[in-house]
Subunit: 333 residues, 2 copies
Amino acid sequence: MNANLQVCIRQFPHDVVNVEHFELREVPIPSLAEGEVLVRHQFLSLDPYMRMRLADAQVGRFAMKLGDVMMGRTVGTVTASRDPAFTPGDVVLGWGGWQSCSVARAETLQKVEPLGDGSLSAYLGVLGRPGITAWLGVVSVAQLRSGESFLVSSAAGAVGSLAAQMARHIGARVVGIAGGAAKCESVVEQLGVHACVDYKAPDFKERLADATPGGVDVLFENVGAAVFDESLNRMNQHGRVAVCGLIAQYHSGEPYAFKNFPRILDRDLKVTGFRIDSNKDLHEQASKDLRAWFDAGVFKSWERVSHGLENAPEAFIAMLQGRGQGKTLVRLH
Amino acid sequence: MNANLQVCIRQFPHDVVNVEHFELREVPIPSLAEGEVLVRHQFLSLDPYMRMRLADAQVGRFAMKLGDVMMGRTVGTVTASRDPAFTPGDVVLGWGGWQSCSVARAETLQKVEPLGDGSLSAYLGVLGRPGITAWLGVVSVAQLRSGESFLVSSAAGAVGSLAAQMARHIGARVVGIAGGAAKCESVVEQLGVHACVDYKAPDFKERLADATPGGVDVLFENVGAAVFDESLNRMNQHGRVAVCGLIAQYHSGEPYAFKNFPRILDRDLKVTGFRIDSNKDLHEQASKDLRAWFDAGVFKSWERVSHGLENAPEAFIAMLQGRGQGKTLVRLH
């Protein structure tokens, strides 16, 4: 390993992301300064929020510019260290980005234990930010209780699939929403939920009503726009909505007109937006719960793994287009 | 008093309410059955929610049909009783409707003490449902704290003006929104708030920004649509929105497209709809607080009183058109 392979931003996407927006580059591995650590990445996490970072970066709301390595969460192994807190062989989580290895300030890395089966990918899923995000919505924001009715959009996604499994473990009646019949079948099969409704079906509204005969007590919203709108109409009185993502509303030009917005008032709903980094005081508690549930076998591993950094752009695009199922990862070695 | 004057529904309004939708009728006062009480009304309360009742009644969601006496909250004096709990001279609150007197089942009436100044109108305002509604939004839903920034729409309305005064008493920096320069001046003068912004001004957005230089921690929303949309954009991170009314969204044909809907997510907002009758467990606590604040002189009486039942339709229409200021009442004798 004498060179570092990187995926850099060649152009910012305006609408649909394609492979032309990225470019592959090979650079020498720089030497370490005092307090720096060299990490060889095993897995790179690909997540929907990254689309927003690209948009934010373009208008100066996020520090990433043309030519920079694309950002992303990574797990890997320390191969050299000039900080006393780390030694070669340590397994670390970090913001390594789309590259085969990275030089990081020691304080940006988090040391974790190797997992039983040798794979580290759970640290980018259930034991990482997707897990914490799902926990925040289900446990902290919505305070889901046993016997309640739980609906989650993007149920085949990293966060949605974990939220669905947590809700099931808590004892809720769980219904998912996903795009396409095949994906909905996978959700039911992989996650063991009561039903999964295809939002692409022409009779989505009726199917959603059929799947939630007693209404919905808690909605975990990842999508926004029309899918969210129909879900709002299924809410029970005093229902809670945990708004985790509005991906369908962030990059369309026109604002979406919710037909069912007044349900917020006439059903006494509580609609709460939450982001992982706005709730850092809860991460420790979340991580404890997640680890206990993970060790108890609550979560099924549902991953779509691409191999080789050069395939990261295509895997990212497939995920954004909804072609992925479960957690999207790139395995680098 | 041998006859009972009534205002009945002649037609249901489809869009704008006008006097032709009502008709005046004189009927004999019926004799009392066991358990009934005859109440002579002193004041009739006129409130924005009544417009919704008319719409609900029209589609069968509220029990009121053509020819019925228009519903409404009343305060008055018992003149005859066939229930041991009430005797002539008792002051009672009830759902007497738009008529000079009403026959009520005893269990639907609430006995109250006469107030110091002889007027009973406070029981339809600060000590009645508008007061409880404002309390629910400010104290229970938003949990407003001293030093926070508080914004309230429809600040010249019955609920809005009470919410503004409560917020001031709690120690918040209070800004109102109202329609028209004259009304805004009245709000500042009557309620002693920091500022009141005219939503009819062409530069409303800029004025709102100027009036809330540190953003908004708590929004008490009574209006909906464009006014709400611009207010959402002023919210601080982790802000709370108490949705009390969406009057602008209930009777327009097209759903409103919120430009700033994504602020719910990217500012971690908590948006809660609440209705007085969905929170009955809190009414006793609210009433206690309200009475204590009332006795301590926290609230300024701000009423627009019409005289004579025959003027109720015109007073109702004026209120719906935003021509009223403070609590709208009809004094019957």
